[in-house]
């Protein structure tokens, strides 16, 4: 496949792996966190870790949109579907995330909730137009990548004067999550650097990561989601570590610059404002880490329209998703992994999405556990 095969080339990978093997200092260990679930998925799916020297270890970060969604938010979506009788639309990955009472959106659907999987939030607007006598709610999740399209959908609904469309906004921000890792658990993790987000960075640019390099003295290399991108970024991180540098470098220069997509940023600012705080799964409640609709668009805010209250719910007992999202534990170190918690019957969110650390390890890597 043109433009993709080039970034998955096994021969280039072999050469790059050999270069990495030459460049690592055998006397030390390298511990890098890939923030994004997209990187976690690429590393697992293409077997990138098999090409790394023994002393280079990748630690999975929290950047998987459905993984960081706390149970309380899924509960709200289920409440809308089952109690308010709305047509609830969301992206596919969300459907299987476990919520309270043994439910998930998929199970709520089986109980009669009108829950639809969509590919684009524009489809939710279309549904609202086609069903004028029903309330249509788009359960909006994800980082900065999926936020601008939601803003577009809201503006479109406003322009159309749709009174039956609203958004349950759970869009979150990447930089506060990285900061939380740096401040919260880095003493335990002793990270040597970060593989920075790919698609998120096309929106926010590379500038927001600069404080992590200057303040926390951690190298950051922004990388694309293809396996060669990841391998090249790891090489760049190793070089920074070896040179004693801590900079923001950009491996993904074919799509990311320092400023990002200003149009998308303006759109997000126009429609959304920052929440005072937001509860994340695994990372706790982080200030200014998520968005809600501005007052001008309050009519499209499902939380206001249906007077939804947020009720935090503790994770399942024994589930280590929190530690896994913070990189403190590896999936196979959770007692539930592969026993009671499997992709068919996920107990925690990390076992749901293919970008989740547990699902990725279960699906692609558990043969290594012996």
């Amino acid at each position: 496949m043109k433009y993709l095969a080039e970034f998955r080339d096994g021969e280039v990978a072999k050469k790059l792996a050999a270069a990495i093997a030459r460049e690592v200092n055998p006397e030390r260990r390298y511990r890098f966190m890939e923030f994004c679930g997209g990187h976690t998925h690429a590393i697992s799916r293409y077997g990138v870790a098999d090409l790394l020297p023994e002393n280079v270890r990748m630690i999975h970060g929290p950047g998987c949109p459905v993984c960081v969604l706390p149970i309380g938010r899924i509960d709200q979506a289920i409440q809308l579907a089952l109690e308010e009788g709305v047509i609830l639309c969301t992206y596919g990955d969300c459907l299987r995330v476990p919520a309270s009472g043994g439910l998930s959106l998929l199970k709520a659907k089986a109980q009669g909730g009108d829950i639809r999987m969509i590919y684009s939030c524009a489809d939710a607007v279309t549904l609202a137009r086609q069903n004028p006598d029903k309330q249509v709610v788009f359960f909006a999740i994800g980082f900065e990548t999926t936020t601008p399209p939601t803003a577009v959908a809201i503006k479109q609904a406003a322009a159309l004067g749709l009174s039956n469309f609203s958004v349950l906004c759970c869009h979150v921000l990447t930089p506060p999550a990285i900061a939380s890792i740096m401040e919260g658990v880095d003493e335990q993790l002793q990270l040597d650097g970060f593989v920075g987000p790919a698609h998120v960075s096309t929106i926010i640019g590379s500038r927001p990561y600069e404080p992590f390099a200057t303040q926390y003295r951690k190298p950051v290399v922004i990388a694309g989601f293809e396996p060669l991108d990841v391998l090249q970024a790891i090489r760049m991180l190793i070089r920074q570590v070896n040179d004693g540098r801590a900079e923001v470098e950009n491996e993904f220069s074919r799509a990311v610059d320092r400023d990002g997509n200003r149009k998308a940023q303006a759109l997000m600012d126009e429609v959304f404002e920052l929440r005072e705080s937001f509860e994340w799964r695994g990372l706790g409640t982080l200030p200014h880490s998520a968005r809600r609709l501005r007052a001008e668009f309050a009519g499209f805010d499902a939380e206001r329209r249906f007077a939804l209250a947020y009720r935090p719910v503790a994770d399942q007992k024994g589930c280590d998703c929190g530690e896994i999202l913070r990189g403190i534990k590896r999936p196979q170190e959770c007692k539930l992994f592969g026993t009671v918690c499997t992709p068919e019957n996920p107990i925690g969110s990390c076992m749901v999405s293919s970008e989740g650390a547990c699902a990725a390890h279960y699906t692609y890597g558990r043969y290594k556990d012996g």
């Binding site: 496949m1 096994g10 792996a17 997209g38 799916r45 090409l51 999926t146 396996p227 970008e355 043969y367």
Partner: protein, 361 residues
Amino acid sequence: MPPTTLMGVTRMVEPRKNYLRPLDLKHGHVDMAHGAGGRAMAQLIDELFARHLGNEWLAQGDDGAVLPAPGAGRLVMATDSHVVSPLFFPGGDIGCLAVHGTINDVAVMGAQPLWLSAAFILEEGLPLADLARIVASMATAARQAGVPIVTGDTKVVERGKGDGVFITTTGVGLVPPGRELSGSRAQPGDAILVSGTLGDHGMAIMAGRENLGFESPIVSDTAALHGLIADLLASGGDIHVLRDPTRGGLATTLNEIARQSGVGMMLQEKALPISPPVAAACEFLGLDPLYVANEGKLVAICPQNDAEKVLTAMRGHPLGACAAVIGTVHHDPQRFVQMTTAFGGKRMVDWLTGDQLPRIC
């Protein structure tokens, strides 16, 4: 019918020849009467089903078809329900799919498919034109395959209780003495082959269903495989396992065989035949072509020494032109299917979880 005379007027016991208006195959719809067992149903059977599918066994008109006892060997029987949406898709429709699917299930057991049955569940409101198109497509598929549909059934359900039409077909075939094919016969050291490109059917359906409007239309591979299978069996290769990787794709089929045979498998990603449009569409939707359905492909497992022979036989048939050896069977008590990625790493090719859902970003 003998005419009866009453008060000088000649009356027929049955309606006059032209009294029953023919089915409106252009604008008519299926209604509840078509399944009620009365004259409307008889008319549907006569004018639509019998017209297209007619053969000497259907013409017997009894509750069951009386068939000649086949020769020596063992009988294979397989059944498959078809619930595809949309009913018509690039490269086929639910009708030919229902014929191919069951013929293939019989044929991969090493059997010569002999007869099919077809049971229809129609939804009230289904355009008769669509039904006629579907039944005509079944007839063509059955005729081309040389496997007649010898008995059938029709039921109608109320609007909203079906998805247009559901078709269940059952097939019977004959395996000659001495031929043993089974998913439990894969052995360490065997080679794994596929007969062509993967994921074409599933992506053709997906593109049609989601209205994604891919620029290069992907066409379903739906086809009857018994001709290809006959060629493989005649090649002289000692084939241990044949299976058609339908729903759940190649990955699911290989995991089933690995479990049944108690072995592990190692695939070579580089060797997997996947057409560029399917690869691109999967990439776009975040799907893995290994898990996408095929309806005209075959997995064959045979000793490494016979792999070349079987591959040549596959490639010699029009349905096997893109055949490839894609991996090997090895000893593994865990029964894992693994793959050496084109990138140079290793990973598992696990069972499918739920439905394959598109990723978010």
